[in-house]
């Protein structure tokens, strides 16, 4: 821990880095200065609140409080994933189910195998990591699905006209959408350690943990993210594709962009 010397004053000085981004934005007329300022202010406020709340939860070390935190993270992630549904009905509900199952299965396996303990300082950050990854994966699934239904609606109509059920007519799209949700995780795994040292591993190393131990944790996180994004993508895609059809198994043209 001796290596960590971030104080309020060093943070304030670090704000110079934000000014660099603002200057580039202003100079190049990128019109993103407002976004940068809003983003930075939000990040500071959100993280400060979360820091204090986490401190309280960890200190309290209460099962129910930990569970409540878990639920809040999952609902929040589902809400954001739902918004990325871009008009797909029930996108929030599907995301909630996908993120809940993905997080419970992954986290449950980690606790069951003894990789992590059911204590707030481990459960809360792991829940956050898992839920946010599934959230991103589901967002990609929804976007890919909507685009594919739009691009290939003629082919789907032809398959339906030949008497295909909606699942058979959408099979290719479901498969590709699941893949699109998992692809970033798979791509990042390939370059692990070669291009980027992942956040968690870096954090452990900065905090003074032996890099070999940090790597073990990272390998576990990799397994965890693979499982959670595949579960989340699978559930959300298999539920969402049905929304592109009405009860007469006709293509719902309102949903096509």
């Amino acid at each position: 821990m001796a290596n960590l010397t971030v104080s309020n004053s060093t943070l304030a000085l670090g704000f110079i880095l934000v000014i660099i981004a603002l200057v580039i934005g202003y100079w190049q007329k990128l019109q993103i200065d407002k976004d940068i300022i809003i983003g930075v202010v939000r990040a500071i406020i959100q993280l400060t609140i979360v820091g204090y709340v986490l401190k309280f939860v960890i200190k309290a070390n209460d099962v129910w409080l930990t569970m409540a935190f878990f639920v809040i993270i999952v609902i929040n992630a589902s809400w954001n994933a739902g918004k990325r549904g871009n008009g797909i009905p029930k996108a929030f509900q599907f995301s909630l189910l996908a993120i809940s199952v993905g997080t419970v299965v992954t986290l449950g396996t980690l606790v069951w195998t003894g990789s992590i303990q059911f204590i707030p300082e481990q459960i809360v950050p792991f829940t956050g990591m898992i839920a946010s990854n599934i959230m991103v994966a589901i967002g990609l699934c929804y976007r890919n699905m909507k685009q594919s239904f739009t691009d290939r609606h003629q082919q789907i109509l032809e398959k339906l006209a030949l008497g295909a059920d909606i699942k058979l007519a959408s099979e290719d799209i479901i498969r590709e959408s699941i893949k699109s949700g998992m692809q970033p995780t798979i791509d990042s795994i390939k370059t692990l350690g070669l291009v980027a040292l992942p956040g968690m591993m870096s954090g452990l190393i900065i905090a003074g943990v032996d890099p070999v131990k940090a790597i073990k944790y990272q390998i576990m996180v990799t397994f965890m993210l693979l499982a959670s994004t595949s579960i989340g993508s699978f559930i959300s895609c298999y539920l969402a594709y049905q929304q592109f059809y009405n009860d007469q198994k006709q293509l719902n043209s309102n949903l096509l962009s």
Binding site: Q154, L157, E158, K159, L160, A161, L162, G163, Q248
Partner: protein
């Protein structure tokens, strides 16, 4: 006592007569029903059928009966609503008001996938699925949970003058005319009761058109397939026997 017995006998006779009367009435109703079934020679019965998108009325109160086994040609200017009407009959879209009956029952009351196997729709510019021609000809089997029957497929390929070597060809290596013929086979390998063809010969050369006409005529004449054809082709319109004109969303 005698009077009592006579009264009972009279009562019994009355009951018998009443039963006979009821039975003859029900027979008469049965006859009526039979007569009604006979009326179902109409494979489609459309009553006040309309289709609207927003404020725009694409089909306006269509009343039309289509007899089983007919080969009917739908004509009319572009945008008149012909394709919309065909898509309603193929259950690809649903009418916004009015009634569309297939064999006496509402189209919407059928299980949609089952219905579309009985009333098959062929598109103007079809896309071929997957990678090979086989992927397309196998699709009707997959839909029905059956195994691909190569011999049957070869028989159908012969109908449309396509060599069996095409089965393993890439979909990128077939010409426009061949593509249309292969797509049509997807509709016909398991012959439906009604085939709706939406300008399937548009853009085809004379030879390809001839092949398509021949197979459609064959199925119509030999197998009693009801065909509803949308076309703008002058020679097809000229040769057509039964024509229905659709103009401004109305049947004239």
């Amino acid at each position: 006592m005698i009077l009592f017995v006579m009264a009972i006998k009279l009562l019994a006779i009355w009951h018998k007569m009443k039963d006979n009367l009821i039975s003859s009435i029900s027979n008469a109703e049965g006859f009526k029903n039979n007569y009604g079934v006979k009326q179902l020679n109409n494979i489609f019965e459309l009553t006040d059928l309309s289709y609207q998108v927003g404020d725009k009325k694409i089909l306006k109160n269509i009343n039309l009966n289509i007899e089983q086994g007919k080969y009917i040609t739908f004509i009319g200017p572009s945008g008149s609503g012909k394709s919309t009407l065909m898509r309603i009959l193929a259950s690809m879209i649903s009418a916004t008001s009015g009634e569309a009956l297939f064999k006496g029952k509402k189209i919407s009351s059928y299980e949609p996938t089952d219905y579309r196997r009985r009333v098959s729709y062929a598109f103007q510019q079809p896309t071929l699925f997957g990678k090979t021609v086989k992927d397309n000809l196998e699709f009707p089997y997959t839909v029905r949970g059956k195994d691909f029957d190569r011999d049957q497929v070869i028989k159908f390929l012969n109908y449309v003058n396509i060599d069996e070597s095409y089965i393993d060809k890439s979909v990128n290596d077939v010409s426009g005319g061949e593509k249309q013929r292969i797509a049509l086979l997807r509709n016909l390998i398991f012959p439906p009761e009604v085939l709706i063809t939406d300008e399937v010969t548009a853009g085809l050369d004379a030879d390809n058109k001839e092949i398509v006409h021949n197979i459609l005529n064959k199925f119509n004449q030999d197998d009693g397939l009801t065909i509803l054809r949308v076309t703008h082709d002058d020679s097809e319109i000229e040769q057509a026997i039964d024509k229905v004109t659709v103009k401004n969303g109305e049947v004239i």
